[in-house]
């Protein structure tokens, strides 16, 4: 029971960061390996605000999210767009993007180490117990889960009920066909990329409420987010949410029953099984 509830709480927050990557990879078609660093930057933002003013990390969302949106918009315009323009094929673009965002992630790590230092960071916000079915859990985990659920729901509604959301989903299905029905694909991609970064940073703020992190920890989250996106199926938000819960449960189970050092190994075995059994993911469309 313990495992299930902690796993679900963890999965709820994972869902947020994975949706961020999903928007970047599924809609904008950019494999952003600096995604985890954006998440850690969000976490540092929350930490900085809490250490300075004791303000709730939920308030940090108010400035972290717009900042991350602007930063990712700029990254897309300045760094990614020239690569998209010069790429001769999708394969070449993928390689370029992977290398460029890799470089970017190292630059981010370097900057964060210089500003915040390389030590492990955490802060105690709402670290009081809450009782669910007679067992105690950290209140901060529950609050983070609820906040994540609210943001996910808002995103889901926005994607499915508004015109812009529809345009984004159309680009995700087929960029060239979306262009034919007078969707500005370049704009939609930039928007998706920036929004994805903002959502990921929000995930970082929420994760920082109960996880210990350091400047170089981002790559682990990049990997987890990628595994969730692939497990759920590229281009499908429902799949991402389900996969996030699966990963949260699997990690918690392995950490509790076997060894806490094996969480990434658990994620990887899940990844391998998906690649062998169903490479298009749980909800993915099978392509030719």
């Amino acid at each position: 029971m313990d495992i299930v509830i902690i796993g679900l709480l963890l999965g709820g927050t994972y869902a947020l960061m994975a949706i961020g990557l999903q928007l970047q990879f599924g809609v904008a078609r950019i494999m952003n390996l600096a995604n985890g660093e954006i998440l850690i930057a969000g976490a540092f933002g929350a930490f900085w605000l809490y250490a300075g003013t004791k303000a709730s990390p939920l308030l940090a969302l108010l400035f972290v999210v717009p900042l991350a949106f602007a930063l990712n918009w700029a990254i897309y315009r300045v760094l990614i767009l020239p690569l998209v323009r010069r790429a001769k094929s999708q394969g070449k673009l993928e390689v370029d993007c992977i290398l460029a965002t890799f470089g970017l992630s190292f630059v981010f790590i370097g900057i964060m180490v210089a500003v915040f230092g390389a030590q492990y960071t955490d802060y105690a916000y709402l670290s009081e117990p809450i009782f669910i079915f007679g067992e105690r859990y950290g209140l901060n985990r529950v609050v983070a889960f609820l906040a994540s659920a609210v943001i996910c729901a808002a995103l889901y509604l926005w994607l499915h009920k508004t015109r812009t959301g529809l345009a984004l989903r159309a680009v995700s299905v087929n960029p060239s066909a979306a262009g034919l029905v007078s969707i500005n694909v370049a704009r939609a991609s930039a928007l998706a990329f920036a929004l994805g970064g903002a959502v990921t940073a929000a995930g970082g703020v929420l994760l920082s409420m109960y996880l210990t992190f350091d400047a170089s920890y981002g790559v682990v989250f990049t990997l987890k987010a990628l595994i969730i996106v692939i497990l759920g199926g590229v281009g499908d938000i429902r799949g991402t949410i389900v996969a996030a819960f699966i990963l949260g449960l699997a990690e918690t189970a392995v950490a509790t029953l076997i060894d806490p050092g094996l969480t990434l190994a658990a994620a990887y075995i899940l990844f391998m099984v998906v690649l062998l059994v169903r490479p298009e993911g749980l909800f993915g469309r099978r392509t030719a």
């Binding site: 020239p82 690569l83 460029a100 470089g103 190292f106 370097g110 682990v220 094996l262 990434l264 490479p279």
Partner: protein, 348 residues
């Protein structure tokens, strides 16, 4: 198209020309000359030379797979660590040459499993998987040592000296070059270049793309494991954090890309300046290495996308291409490339 059945025409095209024989002789002379370095230099210079030869071996073996296919493999550290651990674990039990063979076999086995799972699907998944492979194996090793033993590291003590490592690595590099040269003129290498250009076309040509990629990935990874086995005693103490340090993978990729991935000798042009630059950086700015590594990545992508060999070749072409006769591979490949281009134009 299977590798075993050879067409006579292909054999005729692959005959070794006088020019190639000259290149071969020059290479042998260069290698022998490089072999005299430890007799002349010692101390710090020799240490740097060992690094250069080690990274040249890494980057060239990386290139064997990732060069023609454009699949960025980030698994060097994982296979390096496997080789190190095999050697560290067995140094007191088995003779050293046996350990090198076991390291190679272990690396090949892991590469086969990883390749079978990831190389059938899109290249992005392969990159992601290899990115975490070192961390995955590190977690398993740490856990295994935690469960089955008490110590977190292993001591490797031999009486080998710096020149020995240098010669071993130099020999290994020569072997990698020979294998790379042989692959480059084999049907397998030809198949890989087509895959790198356009995987769909490769499939339509009747190439078993998954198998070709798998074979090359295994060869490339085996070499990385053997390098690990060769240099394990140089570290003296092997523990998971050192053996599976992911930075190694990134450095190898940077060096190979900096040199250029279109020529077998490309990585060497990247390795030499990068190792020297990195020595300087880690002495002058030890706390900014990550930042500078990132800057190097960005510079390579945006400023020199084809590496130093690309720059050299462009310069040669602009001068009229004097003395730049197309190689056998190019001569073989050109008609096909035109064919592919025509097909693509028609599709577009």
């Amino acid at each position: 198209m299977s590798a075993s059945e050879k067409l006579p025409a292909a054999d005729a095209g692959l005959a070794i020309t006088a020019g190639e024989r000259r290149v071969f002789v020059v290479c042998v002379i260069l290698f022998v000359a490089a072999g005299f370095v430890p007799l002349v230099f010692g101390g710090y210079v020799l240490q740097v030379m060992v690094s250069i030869v080690m990274y040249a071996a890494f980057a060239t073996s990386w290139l064997l797979f990732s060069g023609p296919t454009n699949y960025i493999a980030l698994s060097t550290a994982a296979f390096f660590g496997i080789g190190m651990y095999v050697t560290a674990g067995g140094i007191d039990l088995l003779p050293y040459p046996a350990l090198i063979i076991i390291s190679g076999v272990a690396g090949a086995a892991v590469a086969a499993v990883v390749g079978l799972a990831t190389l059938r699907v899109s290249g992005v998944y392969f990159v992601i998987f290899t990115l975490g492979l070192a961390e995955l194996i590190r977690q398993f090793m740490t856990w295994g040592q935690h469960v089955f033993g008490t110590m977190s590291g292993l001591y490797v003590t031999t009486d080998r000296s710096e020149p020995m490592y240098y010669w071993q690595l130099l020999l290994l590099t020569a072997v990698i070059y020979l294998v790379g040269w042989w692959i480059g003129r084999s049907r397998l290498g030809f198949a890989l270049r087509i895959i790198g250009n356009d995987e769909v076309v490769a499939v339509h040509c009747g190439i078993n793309t998954a198998r070709a990629k798998l074979v090359l990935f295994i060869i490339s990874s085996t070499f990385a494991s053997i390098i690990g086995a060769v240099v394990a005693p140089r570290w003296g103490y092997v523990e998971p954090g050192v053996a599976f340090n992911p930075y190694l993978s990134f450095q190898v990729v940077i060096m190979a890309l900096l040199g250029g991935t279109h020529r077998l000798w490309g990585p060497l042009l990247g390795v030499i300046p990068f190792v020297l630059l990195w020595e300087l950086i880690s002495i002058e700015f030890p706390s900014q290495t990550t930042l500078l590594l990132g800057v190097c990545f960005l510079l390579i992508v945006y400023v020199i996308p084809n590496g130093f060999t690309g720059l050299v070749e462009n310069a040669l072409q602009r001068r009229g291409g004097a003395g730049d006769a197309p190689s056998v591979a190019q001569r073989m490949f050109d008609p096909l490339r035109h064919l592919l281009q025509r097909g693509k134009d028609r599709n577009a």
